[in-house]
Symmetry: C2
Amino acid sequence: MTFVNVGTLGTQPGQREAVVAILTRANPQLAQAGCLLYEVGTSEESPDTVFVTELWTSAEAHQESLQLPSVREAIAEAMPLLNGQMSGFQYQISGSPLRD
Amino acid sequence: MTFVNVGTLGTQPGQREAVVAILTRANPQLAQAGCLLYEVGTSEESPDTVFVTELWTSAEAHQESLQLPSVREAIAEAMPLLNGQMSGFQYQISGSPLRD
């Protein structure tokens, strides 16, 4: 079942754009690993937060992707720029009103 | 800018599948109104929660869609099945590692 992972990452003051730059760096390994959607963004109401929405072919594909060298490097690069506050949720897709 | 709306809807005990059925009912008006993605789902860890992830061409398109008769009817139908607990966040997309 298609798996959804959505989350917020708290950043150190002034580091939001640097984290966005890391997370949006093109990475063809993700699609090969089963990533269907990976959207990174911000909100004016939350100056020190980066938002992420991901769809994966399965929860396992998502989990395994965290072992990819490119993903581990991006996480290591971003970690010092984060403030440790994270939130979000994960779920399995049941359906969509955009599909019959 | 592409707009993301993600959220959780608390349901009355035993009403989760009924809410999923309402929210996943095919509705071509949504795509016409600028909906790019609308994924509804559940999680085994949260028996009384429905999760929704939406992408829209803009925040305005999302806002205007709430006036569509079909959307208002779905909300009215689902409301008695909800427990009032809602959470989530909204943001503007900056980019994606799936795109150059």
